[in-house]
Symmetry: C2
Subunit: 191 residues, 2 copies
Amino acid sequence: MPKLKDEQKLAAIQTATLRLVIRTGFSGLKIADVAREAGIGTGTMYVYYSDKEQLIEDVYLTTKKEIAAVLFDPAHLSDTFQETFKRMWLAYFGFCLQQPEKMLFVEQFLYSGLISEDLIAETEAMFIPLDNLLIQAQEQGLIKKVSVEIAKAFIQGAIHEVVKVITKKEYRLIQGELEKCFEMAWGSIKI
Amino acid sequence: MPKLKDEQKLAAIQTATLRLVIRTGFSGLKIADVAREAGIGTGTMYVYYSDKEQLIEDVYLTTKKEIAAVLFDPAHLSDTFQETFKRMWLAYFGFCLQQPEKMLFVEQFLYSGLISEDLIAETEAMFIPLDNLLIQAQEQGLIKKVSVEIAKAFIQGAIHEVVKVITKKEYRLIQGELEKCFEMAWGSIKI
DNA sequence: TTGGTTGTCGAATAAATATTCGCCTACCTT
DNA sequence: AAGGTAGGCGAATATTTATTCGACAACCAA
């Protein structure tokens, strides 16, 4: 944890890390490159992070928190489950579309084999409210009864892959296509 | 391309590469480790592959071919689109479940930023028959009309993420849960 | 203004890893 | 069996990259 250095510099480091990890993979992430991209000296990196591992873990945690905030925005709450689900789905899809580096970073790191069990547990705990929402909907007979882990994975996996294709191929969603994508997601879980 | 050395040794190298990439990420893949895991000397690695990049690209290509073979097994063809789709979906899901290393390897490499455009194009071309199948179904009004790229991404993304969760958490699909997963997939694309 | 304190820099060093290469072994061929 | 050849080995070397550290700059307090 940085003691309280220059917040702006910290943000620059995180942004640079995100960008570089996506461009070159974790393998390609060189501390010197991050420093150059962030506009600071190599040695300065070690003032903020004691090593590369800590840097990556911190970026991961920060990004996960941001995602949780997007998902659990109180404005998404509605009277019906379907409407709440739709607002959350659209918010998350929009987040991924606008900041695919963050989505990719989180995904790549989670399955890279480099992440610690503790960090996994810590970040998963942030999403328990989502589990509860889904379980409630299942009990009300609104959505299919599968393990919530599986339901979440299905929805999230579909969003991620669609966004990846859109990003990689610079595809532009045409009129009404976003709505169709949501219908696919809803069609998959509704009874 | 290996000229025609010991085929068995080649397979051992590929298996070892797959396993190690999943365990440690591309960053963690050390030629010396691959050699040890494959039961050969470090230097021998260079008889088969001139460098690490070539090794990874070859494993990727080999795996993609295997996936295409699973998907396009003639036994999957049926009179109805839904049945053909179901057989292909089940075959691919089963493949991923039984050999998650291959699924993960392919996915990680594709979005690692390390893959060349040529290799992407070469492997994508293998899956054109799938595009045609989907387009035909769209024209017959059987499935939603979205870009086939998006439809494929949606279905594949969902499968991958579900398999990842199952694998990582050592979750076991309970009675009828596989069928439910298929229903989710079908529910997402059907009109 | 000056002495001190904090933050920064990047060349120098240490560590990790890829790659080479001379030697060795096993197996042919006559 | 003797000589020859192909394939294999892994310690030695080259390269890449992380990390340290002594010198410098900016700022501040007295």
